[in-house]
């Protein structure tokens, strides 16, 4: 063999070639014997190709990306197989997106939405913005606008109070 396949996880020559069909999509991996043993490839029930592919696809030297929220790096992911915090999904979007397609049925959420929590968040976001507008208006001595902000703030506060908090 002039150009033997390399293991997807390390760079040794690959001797185990696995094809798994999941949701009518074909996934292929090439592994060396050690990695195949270690990942339990020989056990059809306890092995998820999707997990393996995900780890293999993440290049630890991927341009020094780092989650600003929690300091997580792709190298950490490779080690742990899990992310650091919810913001990591934004930080590693470029690496993750191609993988989601093979991992899941689709790439866009189609299920339950935490409606109450989102509504609450919207109200708070609006309140924060209004309070900012109010202080700006007062600073600029635009009193009519300030009065309007104040009225709106009162309305939003009322709406917040009406939400059962527990």
């Amino acid at each position: 063999m002039a150009n033997p396949l390399k293991c997807d996880l390390c760079s040794k020559p690959a001797t185990v070639h696995l094809t798994q069909i999941l949701d009518n999509k074909v996934h292929k991996v090439d592994l060396c014997e050690e990695c195949a043993q270690e990942k339990g490839v020989t056990d059809p029930s306890g092995f998820s190709l999707a997990d393996l592919l995900l780890k293999a696809s993440l290049n630890p030297e991927a341009g020094g990306v780092r989650c600003e929220q929690c300091g997580f790096t792709p190298a950490d992911f490779k080690k742990q197989g899990r992310f650091g915090c919810p913001a990591c999904y934004g930080a590693f979007k470029g690496i993750l997106d191609p993988m989601l397609d093979s991992m899941h049925k689709g790439t866009t959420h189609a299920g339950k939405v935490p409606a109450r929590a989102l509504e609450r968040k919207n109200l708070y976001d609006r309140l924060t913005k209004l309070e900012f507008d109010l202080s700006e208006a007062i600073k600029a001595e635009r009193y009519e606008e300030a009065a309007r902000c104040r009225d709106e703030i009162n309305q939003v506060r009322q709406a917040v109070d009406q939400k059962p908090s527990r």
Binding site: Q20, I21, L22, D23, N24, P44, S45, G46, S48, A50, D51, L54, Q69, C70, F72, D76, Q80, G81, R82, F83, G84, C85, P86, A87, Y89, L96, M99, L100, M103, H104, K105, G106, T107, T108, H109, A110, G111, K112, V113, P114, A115, R116, A117, L118, R120, K121, K163, P164, S165, R166
Partner: protein
Amino acid sequence: MTIGSLIDTPSELTDATSSKSAIVLMTRIRLARNLAGQPFPGWAKAAQREKILETCRTAVAATGAMKKGLAIGVAELGELERKILVERHLISRELSGSKQGSGVVISKDQAFSVMINEEDHLRIQMLRSGFQLKKAWQQINDLDSTLEETLDFAFSPELGYLTACPTNLGTGMRASAMMHLPALVIASQMEKVVRAVNQLGMVVRGLFGEGSDASGSIFQISNQTTLGESEEEILKRLAGVLQSIIEHELNARARLLEADAPKLFDKIGRAYGILQNGHVLSSNEAMNLLSLIRLGVDLSVFSDEKRAIIDRLFIEAQPGHLQHAQKGEFEAGQRDLLRAERLRSEFANFARPDFTLSGRGNN
């Protein structure tokens, strides 16, 4: 409720009156949820974990579903108590092995359990005996919505609920059924079933989840993917797969009876003999023998009401439950003697098999 009284109360799964189902022993749904703006448990610092635990524990314990339930830190649980909770599927092996800053809240009837700081901040779980995906979803959905009133979950409109592992993204939902499939095992068809089920986007695992073996011919079948479909669509797909596995199992039973009934009856009869007279039984062997007796019940070799006893023994033959019943610490070898003794006394008055009835009540 204390951990002691919880352990002494039979769960729905060990309750003799509720176990009517033949092939699907139990249904389970779990939802993964995380708090917005907080690091996931595996990455959080000890102090952050403690704070997250406190926030979640307070919110979960305050819900109606958890009224008079148990809220406890994993560190406060003894080794045996953890083992028993794992055997009842109320906590995972991963949680039972975790150190500081994780906990669990369990409802009084042991139908709900919420693990805190396992892989995700919250792992909300609902267990029901039998094939009850719809009902389980309704109830867990209600609990989740209640929690939403006090907790801000990490959520993105595009990716859904954000989870520590991207394999749980979207709905964060894993729905599973515990199935008793002895005929498919005897006929060596499980491998084929596993492959077919995988192709339909579902996963087959052993009794205690990832990496566990299928002792007692009990398998867990669950959805593999969580993103791109609604909860209802996933459940509908899973229900379809379960239904077809049930049919395959029933067909396999019919074929076994047709092809070589004496061989099948021999297995069941021997299992009965060993359970009634054996003196050394490992947990694995006990599970496999009980599985054959359960198959005997399904084939009307034993009376129908015996199925509940077998389902109870499936759990009570586990090492943790056995140790608890005997009030002491035992070596594995000693446990095998105790297990056999326990099963001998259970089977001393267990009516003899009647092989003439067989085939009449093949569910």
